[in-house]
Amino acid sequence: MIRALFDWMRDRPAAGLSLVFLAGLFVLAIFAPAIAPYLPTAQNANDTLAEPTLAHLLGTDDLGRDVFSRLIHGAPATLYASFLAVAVASLLGIPVGLLAGFLGGWVDDIVSRIIDTLLSFPAIVLAIGVTGALGIGLTNGMIAVGIVFSPQLARLVRAQTLVVKQELYVDAARCFGASAWRIIPRHIMPNAIQPVIVQITLLLAVALLAEASLSFLGLGVQPPQPSWGSMLARAYNYMEIAPEQMYPPGIAILLTALAFNTLGEALREALDPTARRR
């Protein structure tokens, strides 16, 4: 098992690197208090917007807080936020898309109209609306983002289902007397899910940015609790005085999004028995 994992990582260095990076990030997120050199909320009015030094590896922000410590303490909130949003989007979007595509007829007509309506809303406006209804906070905000993302997944899953349900092996299963509840999970899902997995990893990356946007607008993480998005938003205010403040959270978001995508692509290939190399 471990051996197979190592072989796999040697064959695909990019995916292996992404896996190591994300694993490291999770460890960092779990043990944040033990790893971070300072408290994320410890201010120092005499040392604001400082450039990196040995004492403050990534400098300090506008309130003199250690950027490195805030970055580490921001990881749990950031990861939690993007996973929550994508989980909500998947739980809503995938079943709805499967049912609409498989059942067709009036179910499909109604679901497709709802999807079109939701997609026509600017995502962030809808998220603000939902947060307004559910109350401000990171969890509510990211549930809202998940709801906004769900039509994208639903539409993709529906389109895939429409293709796969025409396949001959679905007809064959029907001939054996398989019910829809057997055909959908065993024949439709595994053959329709590939592009959905890639889309999910893309959404993880987009959700990172959505967390940043919502926190930027004050609807996500509440100060002084750190998150990468709120750090980026804060750094943005001092862009002209201390542009290097943008880099730590920005690069963290970029690398994490990239790692999710690379891993998603590798996962898609690993799940496809016909693409097994050699």
Partner: protein, 322 residues
């Protein structure tokens, strides 16, 4: 007469065209009955509706008009749950052996799936039953853990056959089962079908465009053209004394393994293409390509007449011979 295992009564299957303005008459008024234990062949060129007919027989398509009776009962009268149970009795093997297998299931899982659905065999025995059936059709156990793309076309078709046999059907619709396979392995598959028929007491509805295949295996053959039967009879009778000009043309088109100067008979080459099934010709649907068509053929649909005992044809000009 015994109860037919499947009786098709005036079956019509119509599909709307893409723009929903017209209908494609894929099967347009077909009646026949298949007796237990026989092999009923259906021959026709592509677009004649023979595959649609096969799908309607196993209830993958709902008839627009007419009925398909299995042992005298209409499956479409059953509830959804009853139909799922009843349809194990009649199975279909498809033309494309690859597309009929889920690419993400191992061979064993695919073969065992019908047993999982039926639930008649205890779950602990299902792998064993599936492996026995694979062995019966000539697939070694080591293939059972592989995926469909790792097998050849002939092997995949054997897997498909094993799979339908697990539920012990009475009737198997064989829809162009060897058309996608190399000529060199067709005979092996056809012989397997013949052996299984004896062993399991199967009835076949054998659909093909290949006269050689259908006359080799069938006890009766129906000739289908543009959604309707043109002629029906025993293979020898059909080959030696066809009544319908379309059957005659089909027979003469069959390559004979003889040099041309030694062949008897004239080759009849049909003009043009098969007409569109959205708008079949009036009267006799073959008249646009028929060498002997007259005015009568455009105005009146030929009756389905018994020319000899058990030999039917639909042509105005067919005359019973002494």
């Amino acid at each position: 007469m015994t109860q037919p295992i499947v009786a098709v009564e005036n079956l019509r299957v119509l599909f709307p065209t893409r723009d929903r303005k017209e209908t494609v008459k894929a099967v347009d008024g077909v009646s026949f009955a298949v007796q237990p234990g026989e092999t009923f062949g259906i021959i026709g060129e592509s677009g004649s509706g023979k595959s649609t007919l096969g799908r309607a027989v196993v209830c993958l398509l709902k008839p627009t008009e007419g009925r398909v009776l299995h042992n005298g009962g209409n499956p479409h009268d059953l509830s959804a749950a009853e139909l799922r149970r009843a349809r194990r009795e009649y199975q279909i093997v498809f033309q494309d052996p690859n597309a009929a297998l889920n690419p993400r299931m191992t061979i064993l899982r695919s073969v065992r799936e019908p047993l999982d659905i039926a639930g008649t065999v205890p779950s602990g025995d299902r792998d064993r039953v599936a492996l026995e059936m694979l062995d019966r059709v000539g697939i070694a156990p080591e293939f059972s853990t592989r995926y469909p793309h790792e097998l050849s076309g002939g092997q995949k078709q054997r897997v498909n056959i094993a799979r339908v046999l697990t539920v012990r059907p009475k009737l198997i619709v064989c829809d162009e089962v060897v058309a996608a396979l190399d000529v060199s392995i067709r005979a092996g598959i056809l012989n397997l079908f013949a052996d299984l028929q004896r062993e399991f007491g199967l009835t076949y509805l054998f659909i093909t465009h290949d006269l050689g295949v259908v006359s080799h295996v069938s006890s009766r053959i129906a000739v289908m053209y543009l959604g309707a039967f043109m002629e029906l009879g025993a293979p020898e009778a059909l080959v030696s004394r066809p009544y319908h000009p379309y059957t005659e043309a089909l027979m003469s088109a069959e390559p004979v393994p003889l040099p041309s100067h030694m062949r008897t008979g004239q080759r009849i080459v049909l003009q043009g293409e098969i007409p569109s099934p959205t708008n079949p010709p009036s009267g006799c649907r073959f008249r646009t390509r028929c060498p002997i068509a007259k005015d009568l053929c455009a105005s009146k649909t030929p009756d389905w007449r018994e020319m000899e005992p058990g030999h039917f044809a639909a042509c105005h000009f067919a005359e019973p011979r002494p």
